[in-house]
Structure formats: C-alpha cells, structure tokens
Symmetry: C2
C-alpha cells in the first residue's frame, strides 16, 4: 500500500539509487551480482517503477491515441485491434476515442494529444476545420482521411475497389446499378469508390444512380433510405454498397419487397471485415486489408516518432471476394 520507490529498493539492496536505475535501464557497467541483488529486491518488495515519473523526465509516454468515429463499427474495431496488437510489440499502449463524428469530441481528443503528451495519434475521423490540424505539431497519421499535406495517410486502393465492384455487377448482367455511398467529401479517399463506379458506368453507357447515406445518421435512417430505392420506380438489379453493413441492410429491405437475391438483385459490399465475412460468407465484397492498414499506420507513426522519413500516401491493395 505504501508506495515503494527506487530509493527503497536501493536501501534494501544495499546499493545506490544510481545502480538500481542502471540495472533498470541497462546502462553503464553492472555486474551479474549487483543485477541479481537488485532484481531480487525488486521482486521482494514488489516494486513497480513509476512510469509517470519516467515519462515526465523523458518527455515520452509510450502511449498512442486512436481517434475514430465509433469503435462499434466493425471496420474500426478491427482496425483498432490490429493497431493495438502491433503497438504492444513495441511497448506502446493505446488510448481510444470515439469522436462520433462530432467536432466537439474531436477537438477534445486533440487537446488530449497535447495535454497527456501522447507520443502520437492515429486519426480515422475528422470533422473539425482542417486548419486546426495545421497547428498541431505532434506525430499524426491518418487512416482513410486526407487531412493536410503534412499528415501521412494510409488508404486502400479505393478506386480499384469501386472498379472491381462495379465490373463484378456488370459481369452478372446488371444494367440498373445503384451505388450507395457515405458522404462524398473530397477529403475521404473512399469517395474514389464512387468516382470509379461513375466512370465504369459511363464507359458502358449505363445510367448512374448514387444514393448518399452519411455515416453519422442513425441506422434506422439508413434503412429507410435504402427502402426508398425499392419503393421508387428505378428497378435496380444491382447494388454497390460501399460498406458491408449497408449491403446487408439492402438484403433486408429487398426481402420486404420479395425481391429474390441474387436472382433479381445482385449486391456487392465493401470492407470485408472478419466479422461480416464470418456472418455472411455469401456476400460478395471488396475486401480491404484492415490488418495491413493497422500495421502500416503503426509503422509509419513509429517512423515519424523516430524521425525517420515517411511517404505522404500509402495505398494498400484491395481484392474482390466472391
């Protein structure tokens, strides 16, 4: 209960504080004898170095923060998983913040970057004015979000993904293909999925129909929006949803209109999270390598922290899963 400090260890082991510190940090000359004496005492006293004191002096916390819209979404929870596992290999620990696409929250988390002195941040969400990021001089990498020229971005080959998805539908003789997408902001590389869709459709002289469903609206609203597709006279025979969850909603809503899948309606999703692949092995989807995205984010961030050169953009492969 009473706090054991390095002094207590030194005293008890009959050595100097400096020696204990040297053992703990593996610096200078230490004999095996001294080392084991110190280690035994540490064990005996159940001493745990105060990492806060160390962080304070070293000005380094071995903590990273991850800001995402919500960990509830499987894409982000899997991304978070891989990031955490990867960071832990280097002794880093991970803070998680759910911005909920709310700028107040996001600003709050950025404040933390500075206050809690995290060594770096991985951002998969942005809603505050991008200029605010310009002022930040910490180490940041961004996942699937273009923030500014200084912050490296890890993204999937979204254009290729959109192309693969659309072509897969065409190959199955779809003519009336609807593309369901999140907000088409310029800063989200995901918008390239729609760009690809549009270009492929144009090449084939087919009518485009893009439905925008912002990530931040309620699930109920998403379902309603999708329902409207079938309530309309468009008569879709193919749907490219840029998220597997939306793809599943499409299946559910289509069922309400007794539309047979895949006979009357083909669906292609996006993301290919482990969760959704396990739940719906039958869903055709464009799979992002979430694990690679997580690992790459960590790699780049650690490079930034260690003052190594990094690229501006890292584009990772996607593949069609059917």
């Amino acid at each position: 209960m009473t706090k054991i400090t390095i002094k207590d260890v030194a005293q008890r082991a009959g050595v100097s504080v400096t020696s204990v510190s040297r053992v703990l940090n593996n610096r200078g000359y230490i004999s095996d004898n001294l080392r084991s004496k110190v280690m035994n005492t540490i064990e005996e006293l159940n001493y745990t170095p105060n990492e806060i004191a160390r962080s304070f002096y070293k000005n380094e916390t071995k903590s990273i923060a991850l800001i995402i819209p919500t960990i509830k979404n499987p894409f982000f929870s899997e991304l978070a998983f891989h990031i955490e596992r990867e960071l832990s290999k280097d002794g880093y620990h991970l803070y998680i913040g759910n911005s909920l696409n709310d700028e107040v929250n996001e600003r709050e988390y950025l404040k933390m970057l500075k206050e809690k002195r995290v060594d770096g941040m991985i951002v998969g969400s942005h809603n505050i004015d991008l200029e605010e990021y310009d002022e930040i001089n910490g180490n940041i990498v961004s996942v699937e979000r273009k923030i500014n020229d200084k912050i490296p971005i890890i993204e999937s080959d979204n254009y290729l993904g959109g192309q693969l998805a659309t072509e897969a539908l065409l190959k199955q003789d779809c003519k009336k293909i609807v593309c369901i997408t999140g907000s088409k902001t310029i800063n989200a590389p995901a918008s390239n999925r729609v760009v690809a869709y549009s270009e492929v459709m144009k090449e084939n002289n087919l009518e485009e129909k893009v439905i925008e469903i912002p990530f931040a609206v309620t699930e109920e609203e998403k379902k309603n929006k999708i329902n409207e597709i079938f309530a309309s006279s468009f008569n879709a025979d193919g749907i490219f949803a840029d998220d597997d969850i939306l793809a599943r909603y499409v299946m559910n809503e289509a069922a309400k209109y007794d539309i047979k899948i895949p006979e009357e309606l083909k669906i292609v999703g996006f993301d290919g999270t482990e969760m959704l692949r396990n739940l719906f092995p039958e869903l055709t989807t464009v799979e992002q390598s979430i694990e690679e995205m997580g690992k790459k984010s960590v790699e780049v961030l650690l490079n930034l922290i260690n003052n190594k050169k990094v690229e501006n953009v890292y584009t990772l492969p996607v593949k069609l899963n059917q």
Copy 2:
C-alpha cells in the same frame, strides 16, 4: 516547437507562476483582471499544461484501462464504446488492451495498471491465476467475470436469460433443444445460462444436449463444431446459442443441410448487440443491456476511486427480443 511552460506564461503575462497555477486550478483568490490576463497569454502562447507533470505530482492520471479478450467482438466493442463515452464525461481517457484470452498478454496489461499508474481498470477477461489479482491493490471492476471477493462484478441476469431463451423454444414446440455455450468455467457468470437451460429442460423431461465451444478457438473451428450438430443423428429442432454470432453460424450451417428456418429449426441467440440486431432483425435473442453494463462499470469504478462504498455484485436485467 520549443516547449512552453507555466513559467513562460507567468513571465509573459507579468504575473507569478503561483498565480497562473491558481487560475488553472481555480484555487484561492483570483481577480477577473488577472484571470483574463492569464487566459489571454495562454491563448497567445498556445500553452498546454503538461498533464504528465500534473499526474506525477498528484499521483492521479485520469486514465482507465479496459482489458477484454478482443475488441473485434461486437459485445466488447459496444461495451468499450459505452465505457469510453461515459468516462469521458468525467474527463477520463481509456486505454484498451486485447488479451486474446492469453495469460501472457493479460499479465502484461496488469503490469501496466501499476506502471502507467492508471487510476483504475475494467476487466472483461481473465485467464491468469486468480490469485494474481489478489495482490493487486488498484481499483478494479470486472464485467461478467468472477475474479475474487474483493473485486466488484457487473453481470447480466444470465440465469433469467437462459430461462427465457429455453422457454421461448419450448413455447414453439421444440423438443430436441441443443445449447451451445462457451467454456463452462465456474468463474464466468454466463455459465448460469446453461444452468438455467438444464433446469428448464429437466422440468420438462427433455433430453439435454450441451455443446461447448470455447470463445478462444478460431471461427472456422466454431463453424465445424456447429456443423457436427447437424451431421449427427440428434435431429435438433431448437438451438439456444449463448452468443448471436454463434446463432448466425447455426443458420449458415443449417442451410448446408437444407434445414428450413424457422420451420424445422428454431434459434435463440444471446447478447443482442446493436450490430447484430441491425444485421438480423429477425433473430430471436436475449438482449443484454450493454450500455447499462458499461455505465454501471464506470459508475462503480469511479466510486471505488473516490473511496465510496460499492456492492460486490451488480446484476442487470435482460430481455427476450423476438
């Protein structure tokens, strides 16, 4: 880039360091004039207090750690979400650790509790010898895990859940009901779901069949285990899966045997995560109040931190969703 400290602020504002500290902490007498002078200077210099220095002195980090098997699982990601959102209201930040049900990892995270001096920990996973927890004198609460008598536990009314699920199947005239469960360790309150199943089955003089599928095995193995149910001669007409994901796997495997759902096979799941409810509105499930579990965990943990009285066990309601 150069670090701005409280001294710089004091100097620039032409006041004492103590005064700046008083403004920042709202202690003692401060005039509006002084306050605004300080605030303006802080703004001007873009000063951010070093929270590490403060934590160091105060011996309090405003950080909490959450240890779970894996954030990839929707139950845990939703739990984490609610815990984080709730903690943030009180200015706490959340570390997340994926133990993967591995004792090495779990021990690692516990070490962090001590080293990084987190103010508390929420544990939804345990694999290391329970005695190890006895040595820990930090603030810990446990979710759905009985650790020891000192650590408060937040759990669902698992027994009721098992009862509701089994009875729902009986009401649909099922006679051959299989119960699929995770490891039946005594320390997991979830095992009471199986206890309830058994008792209800006994009361109705029906044959029990319990299949154990440990949480930690691969998804492929889980699917295979489920497949075996249908490959066997048991002829199940009802399945109580103590996890909605398993319930979905049951549907997928049953489909391979052309078993019609719900005509030939009724299924009841467990958890009722937002994710699964949205993906399968048609799945009957026992819904845990994950949000309440998260909020209660935080409430109890903060009470521990603030030396308030807490109960040993908090049992939260469940409801059948069909």
